[in-house]
Amino acid sequence: MVNKTKYHNDLKKDAGIIVLVLGLLFFSETFVFYRIMSTLWDAVPEVRIIFPVYLLFLMLLLGIETIGCITVYKSIKEHMYDFKYYE
């Protein structure tokens, strides 16, 4: 018999880890991106031309990683009882 309370608590821990590292990733990548771009914005005029490409890849990177993490969470939730993940 599966202990559902334990499973839900452990699933929450997995979700907590994912949210924590994703939060840190969003903070660090946007901070680094903002500091470098804002430093160079006025001094290097070419930055304005290529800025959209940088922004596109930043959004792709963070977006795909977020979708990937959500998928991992959903997969764990879907299979946790079948494969007895938290035994």
Binding site: D14, I17, I18, V21, L22, L24, L25, S28, E29, F31, V32, F33, R35, I36, T39, L40, A43, V44, E46, V47, I50, V53, Y54, F57, L58, L60, L61, I64, E65, I67, G68, C69, I70, T71, V72, S75, I76, H79, M80, D82, F83, K84, Y85
Partner: protein, 458 residues
């Protein structure tokens, strides 16, 4: 390595958890934040480096998702080699096996060169090359004797090195460690124009090279369908964190011209702060990551060579397992002359370039294996595909495209290396395809993996 014939992994104990998968991936790759990535600055300045970080990062996030799906489905220790063997064909499998071998051997040489350079800078009377040889010999001996204890030590070394980067970053942004110089960024923003920014992509993979190796412990995981995707994604996020922090710290603490040629940029950045604690932490971090990475690469490269030999792509002589230490000792010893040959050049960028070319071959083949896998087994079932990656196979196609684009940028400065590397792999592909024709393939999906027959055979 294929699970059905691998004597070394037969009956392995399934105890590994998500943090082990994380540690295996990050352990080999974190060295990329400590050295090598800064050649992006030499090509395209700070803007080139940021571009390379973002584009290569996007590609590796997608590679990780492909590896998560393939690793948690097949649950085999061979990783990219096994995926190509199962879903593409023997020629492609041998090609990937050889590319993984070369990628990791070149990485081992690069690590040894950096450790020797640090030693020589501390003790100027010592020459670099003899120390490089000594390190390669020592690591070969460690792996000859067995790697379990060495890999456990790797985890501790890697974690220490990661904490050093995070502490340095937060100490710097809160004003406790050195002054961040905006003028360094402005003077070195884009020294070679737009072409330089694009050319910087060639060293971008160094930030994350080898993360797909995390899925190679799937066979030994207690719950691979949870451990592989979770550990792989956590590892990828860790590397993205480390790369962003490293670029930020180094670009504001070291002038771009010096940063582009530095052998150990994070250590130099720490030195510029004057903080004894940070100098010690980053110096130890550099040594630790190089040793941990080199040790892990000897392990992975020798297993790849062993698998090629065991599956009859090479002479069977390399497939012997040591009676006492249970290691593929001949394959381990054979890593030494190849690593020394790479190290003999003494040029870190040349060695890194060959490792990147080999890695990019894998990054074309991994998503291609996923596309083939989904065509062979289109249904989503717990047995065949318990973890279904998002947005596939679209992401797989984009990954292949980005890997080819990044490979093409090697044309700027490393055109001959690129031609030689591709020629080497094309010849290897045809040689192995020809060699394998004489061997009868007895592969049964049900017997080997417990899967139904592929869709086209039903």
């Amino acid at each position: 390595m294929s699970g059905n014939t691998n004597s070394e992994h037969a009956g392995v104990v399934k105890t590994l958890r998500p943090y082990h998968v994380w540690a295996l991936g990050v352990g080999i790759v974190l060295v990329g934040e400590y050295m090598g990535w800064n050649f992006t600055v030499a090509k395209g300045g700070i803007l080139g480096s940021l571009f390379a970080l973002l584009v290569a990062g996007t590609m590796f996030v997608m590679v990780s998702l492909c590896a998560s799906e393939l690793g948690s489905s097949t649950k085999l220790a061979g990783g990219p080699y096994d995926w190509a063997r199962l879903f593409v064909g023997p020629g492609a499998a041998a090609l990937v096996g050889l590319a993984v071998y070369m990628e990791f051997i070149a990485l081992e040489s690069a690590d040894a060169i950096v450790v020797a350079s640090i030693t020589s800078s501390i003790f100027p009377e010592i020459q670099t090359f003899p120390v490089t040889l000594l390190i390669i010999a020592f690591l070969t001996f460690m792996n000859y004797r067995g790697v379990v204890a060495a890999l456990n030590l790797n985890f501790a070394l890697t974690f220490t090195a990661l904490i050093a980067i995070i502490v340095f970053f937060f100490a710097n942004i809160t004003g406790f460690a050195g002054t961040w110089h905006p003028e360094y960024l402005i003077s070195g923003a884009m020294p070679n124009g737009f072409i330089g920014i694009f050319a910087a992509l060639q060293f971008g993979p160094w930030f994350y090279l080898g993360i797909e190796g995390a899925a190679m412990c799937a066979e030994e995981c207690k719950h691979p369908t949870r451990a592989v995707p979770l550990g792989q994604q956590a590892g990828m996020i860790t590397l993205l964190l480390g790369s962003g922090m490293t670029l930020y710290i180094c670009s504001g603490l070291i002038p771009a011209a010096e940063l582009g040629t530095s052998v150990y940029p994070l250590f130099e950045a720490a030195t510029s702060t004057g903080s004894t604690f940070l100098i010690a932490a980053l110096g130890i971090g550099t040594l630790f990551t190089c040793l941990a990475s080199a040790n892990g690469t000897v392990c992975d490269a020798s297993r790849s060579w062993f698998a090629l030999s065991r599956d009859k792509f090479l002479t069977n002589w390399f497939a012997d397992v040591h009676p006492r230490y249970s290691t593929p000792y001949r394959a381990v010893i054979f890593t030494m002359p190849i690593a020394i040959a790479f190290a003999f050049s003494g040029f870190l960028d040349q060695v890194i370039t060959f490792s990147i070319i080999s890695g990019l071959i894998c990054y074309v083949m991994i998503p291609f294996s996923l596309i083939r896998f989904r065509k062979l087994f289109p249904e989503h079932s717990q047995k065949v595909r318990p973890f279904v990656g998002p947005l596939q196979p679209t992401l797989a196609y984009i990954t292949i495209f980005l890997a080819i684009v990044i490979m093409s940028t090697l044309n700027w400065g490393y055109g001959f290396n690129l031609i030689f590397g591709l020629l080497f792999y094309v010849i290897a592909y045809f040689y192995f395809s020809w060699r394998y024709k004489s061997i009868e393939i007895n592969h049964d999906w049900g017997e080997d993996l417990g899967w139904p027959e592929p869709s086209h055979r039903r």
